[in-house]
Symmetry: C2
Subunit: 462 residues, 2 copies
Amino acid sequence: MIPLYNERNLLMSETQALASYLVVNRLEDIPQDVRHEARRAVLNYLGCAVGGSPHSAVDRALQALGPYSGKPTASILGRSERLDPLHASLMNGISSHVYDYDDTTPKNYIHPSSPVASALFAYASAHPVRGREFMHAFILGFEAESRIGNAVYPAHYDVGWHITGTAGVFGAAVAIGKLLGLPLQEMVWALGLAATQAAGLREMFGSMAKSFHPGRSAQNGYSAALLAQAGFTAGEHSLEGPRGFAAVQAAHYDLSKITARLGVDFDLRANTYKPFPCGIVNHPTIDAAIQLHHEHRLTPETIRAVRLRVAPLVLDLCNQRGITRGLQGKFSVYHGAAVGLVRGRAGLAEYTDEAVNDPAVRRVREAATAAGDPALTEDQAQVDVDLADGRTVSRLVEQSLGNIHRPLTDRQLEDKFRELAVLALPAAQVETLIAQCWRIDDLANVNELVQNAVPALAGSPA
Amino acid sequence: MIPLYNERNLLMSETQALASYLVVNRLEDIPQDVRHEARRAVLNYLGCAVGGSPHSAVDRALQALGPYSGKPTASILGRSERLDPLHASLMNGISSHVYDYDDTTPKNYIHPSSPVASALFAYASAHPVRGREFMHAFILGFEAESRIGNAVYPAHYDVGWHITGTAGVFGAAVAIGKLLGLPLQEMVWALGLAATQAAGLREMFGSMAKSFHPGRSAQNGYSAALLAQAGFTAGEHSLEGPRGFAAVQAAHYDLSKITARLGVDFDLRANTYKPFPCGIVNHPTIDAAIQLHHEHRLTPETIRAVRLRVAPLVLDLCNQRGITRGLQGKFSVYHGAAVGLVRGRAGLAEYTDEAVNDPAVRRVREAATAAGDPALTEDQAQVDVDLADGRTVSRLVEQSLGNIHRPLTDRQLEDKFRELAVLALPAAQVETLIAQCWRIDDLANVNELVQNAVPALAGSPA
């Protein structure tokens, strides 16, 4: 448990209590099941980052900001270009989130690994870091980020903050701060410099700027730790102060969630991995649609009308209609239903511009309506399909694939990793990476793994 | 006036209308009085940046982030080190705000020039820019920033946003975007990438992180323009969208202030320049205290008690007591009153750690009380001093020195420039700079001026 009282026996603020915990915590204090979940999170993250690395969003960010990079001491996951570690953090964050395929903690809708691991892999590609220290920093960054998110969720998210961006910067600052060995005062400043950079609007959903959020969070959190280390001061009540993160960025909040059972409960245990590369609230609908496709051997011509019954939040987040771009498809529950029913799958190929404009998919998408039902949880959905022969077929999903009660197995995570990583790397290298991820805690230098996550220099695609 | 309807005769959104205005505007469209006020703003900015450049906040930021700089093609105002233009923007922003001596638009409490000019001077030190184009970009960046601030003020500021940071990133994006010649679509994206980086908490006041805000805004706005130029997409309703800047970051807002009389009214006309390097709401109190010091030849021993009557906002912003650091003094109306009464002045020397801990100043500060009075405006204050001989002397200031009704003259601005710039530059160079600022519109290359704003390489203090 954490020291809630400081050495003068005064009750500590949340900022001070969290920073104290982070500074004194040892890897031995982390339970083994949490350490395994962290490896699963890192495997899933790495697949997303490598798979997303050829995306044009990364190309354009590199074109714009690459000329401003410092000494190219760091690797970009999946790519042959090298940048300084801060810019590499940004690129890793963009690539790992651009397909919306990375992990999610459903209790707060954060994509938690991207901001933390994007900074850590950039750091570890430029500086020697042992695997166990890397994973310890990852776990602490993940927990700090998720707990700070819990404190402001749902009001913070509901008003329009992209919580992956806002909470993410804390996660990156903590992870890099832990690797730097920041003492208490500097860790408090790092949290302050993170808080005052917390940003990212949901208005950006459907554009490249969404994936910019975890990238910039990684880069800004990393910078916050460096600035704090150099003695650049910040406010010391950045979480709980009257003009601090919670008060400014949430109409309602509960700061006790930051420190409650800290060191005992771990949000990593509530982490989930997506089977489909789109907004997680669409998953039960897609799951039901795919089941119906296979069970009734549906073809586009047999589908006359589609009725979706979903949790109300789904329509708040994913009500996009009349869409024309792949990125928009990720925020359209109608598109998810359509590809599930028409194609019987919802992989990366179903979220391209081509798939969104596929006439058969478009027709079924336009034949779909949705109703919000407060009786359904966000893991549940019902899909009713009226067929050309007059019949109606239905499927109610009560626990969506990939949710906390139907988690992807380690083998399913490996399969997902392969689907993604082969977009940028040779198959043999992909298998080596998978093996290294499972034994990352034992690596003497995480850069051994990073060098397998970039194309070999000979025959580089760049 | 601006085109409120697009070519298809549809009413444009605020984002689109603002971007359209910015793209089509020509320098000839800007009235001469606004162009002169812009030169005054740039002179004042440049003095603050050069004078603040030796501050330890800049040293520490350079120590932390300098090793990550790209090719050193840009100058840092006041310093001999060179960085890439993005990092130079950050350093310029820190130095120009660290003494809280830069300009203010009292209608929205933005320090408007720092985010805009910090990016522009970094850009112009690395790329050839004619003076007239530089000033045009400055004016448009200033106006966009201030108008976006107007739309969300006061709710946005009241809840705890440091509006210089949040609105500032728009100003920098617009200014650099104008220099880059962004077309409409890219200007809309630049505004979106600015919106989604808008950050900065008032909880940081009293620490170095406050001056980090305009610096990071300059750097992030500059990046937003570069990313947009490269085709990195963003949400296209970043100002007015349901999850956009105004809706997310203000409980109440009025978007019509962004476009009302755009091109006719200019917020530069409402810009003010501080005579004292501290929070502007303290100025009438300091003004009254200095007048009492001179009129009654006050010495510390003669002062028994001090009573301040101030606008309520003053106590909201500047109620710090029990202070020990110079930076805190800027947010203590009691400290402002004390130095005015004891020393008869409130220059940079009155906001050092030494001055805050000066026993005579401390005693008078601790003998001061303050009451908020809704009948007073933020330009007004009354100071009553009980003297050792039993008399009470009083002064009511109705228009504070430096406010819009008692503006600093061009000559007073030059004197202020000298006070600041000699902290980093030889006196002869300071005089050259002043002359160049007044004729900046005529410069063939603004870098001629920048090279007089850095120490000569021979005999460099670094």
